[in-house]
Amino acid sequence: MRYLPLTEADRAEMLARIGAPSVDALFADVPEAARLAGPVEGLPGHAGEMAVERHMARLAARNVSAGSVPAFLGAGAYRHHVPASVDHLIQRGEFLTAYTPYQPEIAQGTLQMLFEFQPQVARLLGCDVANASMYDGSTACWEAIAMAGRITKRNKAVLSSGLHPHYVGTVRTMARFTGDVIEQAPLAPVAEPDLAALAGQVDAQTSCVVVQYPDVLGRIGDLAALADAVHAAGALLVAVVTEPVALGAIRSPGAMGADIVVGEGQSLGVGLQFGGPYLGLFATRDKYVRQMPGRLVGETVDAAGRRGYVLTLSTREQHIRREKATSNICTNAGLCALAFSIHLTLLGEKGLRALAAENHRLACLAAGRLAQVPGVTLVNGGFFNEFTLWIDGDARAVVRDLAGKGLLAGVSLGRLYPGQPELAGGLLVAVTETACEEDIEALAAGLEEALA
């Protein structure tokens, strides 16, 4: 077995030192009735690299990779070009095969990287301070609601109708067990998000209002007035960003008054990966830092007076606080945070703005072209790189039909809202820099044929 260095001679010598007659004797504490006499039955034995690679490649070949066809899927996961150096650097063994930096003297690489990641995220989201990452956007969204509850000592969260339904599902699941109250109005496929109505739902029990920006339909609403209304009621504004590239083009939620901004960082560096692992972003105001969940890296000095970095404020965390912790989370998404940080470093401010501009240019082009297809109308007023089309027919069936023809047309609202037939005509179309004008033409032609 190529991964196991001990030889039979080594094993015999080691048993002699231990004073045990056999390895079986080391498992003497296992109840006899439950001991297995040999390998678990009915499962294959070990296999060489070539055989395993062939098996995995066969499974991979049964998937249509998004890069092999025109692809317009978004809805919380976006296909962007990731520079080759990103994947090379995250595969350096010193990053890939290191543990959580509990011994800071020999983990300054991971610690400094995270200390750079935190302000990158905070600046992008428009906040004072960010943590070292969470599991993903949906779990970060729940953690923000829980944090708002701790700060305000209230337990009702009002969700915008434009919050991604999987995020809503995650939040509702957690709230069911914690006893928090979750309120949400139904989604209406209209041009602008109704933020004024959302402000009207706030009352004296409300801990926070949660608004996605751009929202699940790709719409962009000004959060400033909402923030004022929420604050006047003693509640917090939580903003959710599922496409951080958008913040190269539009104002940050923090700058418009959001108190906690969470996001899905997958867009930068991480890749699609069929839904995970992704990267939860989490940022807030300085004054709330001790209520923030997740790991934090801070600057300090070593015994020789040199600058260095350590995990800090761990008295919020489960390994110290046990049942009084701010969260049960004990891992972050370290390697995904590294990929995000490297990608954002390669872009820099200039590159992020150019990338965002290119996404928006292509999305405008696509929205204009697709709205000319008979039976298709554009729902959105404003959008960044994703918008909603309304089609005459069942968008979910159209998406399946076009997939059979080698075209990944987008995400239907029927897929996202299976219990709501009134949304069946909605189709989310995301257009990133990876789409070209021929792809947009192919989508227009495909929709035209499907709706004819």
Partner: protein, 518 residues
């Protein structure tokens, strides 16, 4: 201090005010290179990616919310970026450099085949919301890995979506809560042994349970009599780690499970240490109702400097119907992904909800499946055998220099536990750990579990050669002897690492969590 029952002493030695001179004008010491912060190196006008120049008069449909002010994001060209991150990487210890014997963390070799297959475009470049017909291979990976986990544990159901061990733990506890609610049985308490990981009580508290601690016996195991005495109609579950955090197999596990079940409670097993018993014993044969499996521990997906993890949960017959959405089912036409509550084809399950967006840590599933296929049923058993053999070898090789509090109560499993008993006055566990750094090793887990004073938990794993184990044992023996003799130099360690001991008290007292422009 109430939060610090274990002897942890995070501050620096008080007399250490040495300012080390490197003797170089750069501060570099040959291959140990000082690296400035990104924010000190980059500029907002530098870019390492070629992109089209934005139109000067673009069409804009941003709802009037165009960004106006600067963001403040520094950029680097590609050569500068490659050098920055390569230099940072060299300040990390890693499994690729040597033994990483962190007890309870399981740092084993990460096979590169797994990295290769995870990057096949058919896995890496697939959108989670593509139509089912275009992702049959991806759904097949989830189903195939799930099947292996069920067979290796002899359980009835598996939830694949949890994103890490603690998330899986939460998923398991929520299944228990949902099952109890479904039978109209409100229970309030979860019993957790005092040697448990901190996540166990944190998870139970999150799920709105009151946590009560169960003591350990003298030989490092759950006190069965105390547990039985506390069980009653208010107890929802017993959370137990097996093998436990003292590195011992819970001999009474079947009796514990029987007693819990007789009282109407469920048994949650923290599967963090499943790597010690995989292929040797199946938790389903021990009476376990739910157990998460950290794929990064037992099945060697990379730890990546602290994540991403992946924590599938295997479930007993009684809990399986409550597993969360989404899940994969096999039909005559191929794999289906069930995402909807009350869907007609979900087999009558009562999913308690959804743990996260999308379907789980696919990138970890492909790696774990490649690891499992490489080992096969026989190799996985050998993994457990060699891991347990190596730990017992370390345990017995340190007889006479390190106190092993449970060393006489039988063999250990995959990790060997020592205490600071016998160290001279003024020498602590942390000094031993830091001295190991100077010898070129990553230290063991220190000050955990809390039930042992000055704990040192050594987990060598199955991936170390005998020569490496002998070298590590030799270094640890020598350091332990110095600790017993009270060598004052230990308090200075490490002196050869990129940094000396860091002031964690200062970091917490005056938090600097972000770069502030000068």
């Amino acid at each position: 201090m109430s939060i610090n029952p274990s002897g942890w002493r995070p501050s620096l030695a008080a007399n250490d005010t040495v300012v080390e001179q490197t003797g170089t004008v750069t501060g570099n010491r040959a291959l140990i290179l000082e690296e400035p912060l990104l924010f000190e190196l980059g500029t907002t006008q530098t870019c390492g990616v070629d992109l089209p120049e934005p139109d000067t008069a673009p069409s804009v449909r941003l709802g009037g919310l165009e960004r106006t002010g600067a963001i403040g994001l520094p950029g680097l060209s590609e050569p500068e970026a490659v050098r920055h991150y390569t230099r940072l990487s060299r300040q990390n210890y890693a499994i690729d450099l040597g033994i990483f014997p962190l007890g309870s963390c399981t740092m084993k070799h990460n096979p590169r085949l797994n990295e290769k297959v995870a990057r096949l475009p058919g896995f890496a470049d697939v959108h989670p919301l593509q139509p089912e017909g275009t992702v049959q291979g991806a759904l097949g990976v989830i189903a195939e890995l799930g099947e292996w986990l069920l067979r290796l544990t002899n359980m009835a159901g598996v939830a694949m979506s949890p994103k890490a061990g603690a998330h899986g733990e939460l998923c398991g506890i929520l299944c228990i809560r949902a099952a109890l609610e479904a039978r109209g049985d409100a229970r309030e308490v979860i019993l957790v042994p005092e040697s448990a990981h901190g996540t166990n009580p944190a998870t139970a508290a999150f799920a709105n349970y009151r946590v009560e601690s169960i003591p350990c016996t003298e030989d490092g195991r759950v006190d069965l009599a105390a547990l039985k005495a506390r069980l009653g109609s208010d107890v929802a579950a017993v959370m137990i780690t097996n093998p436990n955090t003292c590195g011992l197999f819970e001999r009474d596990i079947v009796a514990i499970a029987d007693a819990a079940h007789a009282a109407g409670a469920f048994v949650y097993c923290d599967g963090a240490n499943f790597n010690a018993i995989v292929g040797r014993v199946r938790p389903g044969d021990l009476g376990v109702d739910a157990m998460h499996i950290n794929l990064h521990k037992t099945f060697s997906t990379p730890h990546g400097g602290g994540g991403p993890g992946s924590g599938p949960v295997v479930l007993s017959e009684a809990l399986a119907p409550f597993a969360p959405l989404p899940f994969v089912v096999r039909t005559a036409e191929g794999y289906r992904l069930v995402e909807e509550e009350g869907a007609a084809d979900n087999g009558g399950t009562q999913a308690f909800g959804r743990m996260a967006a999308f379907h789980g840590q696919m990138g970890m599933f492909t790696r774990a499946l490649a690891y499992i296929l490489s080992h096969g049923a026989d190799g996985l058993r050998q993994v457990a055998d060699d891991a347990v053999l190596a730990a017992n070898y370390v345990l017995r090789s340190l007889d006479g220099v390190l106190d092993a509090p449970f060393g006489t109560s039988g063999p250990c499993m995959h990790e060997a536990l020592f205490s600071d008993k016998g160290f001279a006055e003024g020498v602590s566990t942390i000094d031993v750990a830091k001295a190991l750094i100077d010898e070129g090793f990553h230290p063991m887990t220190m000050y955990f579990p809390l039930v042992v004073h000055g704990a040192m938990l050594v987990e060598p794993t199955e991936c170390e050669s005998k020569a490496t184990l002998d070298q590590f044992i030799g270094a640890l023996r020598s350091i332990a002897e110095r600790a017993r003799a009270g060598d004052p130099a230990l308090a200075q360690a490490p002196v050869h690492a990129p940094r000396r001991r860091l002031d964690e008290t200062l970091a917490a007292r005056k938090p600097r969590l972000t770069f502030k422009d000068a």
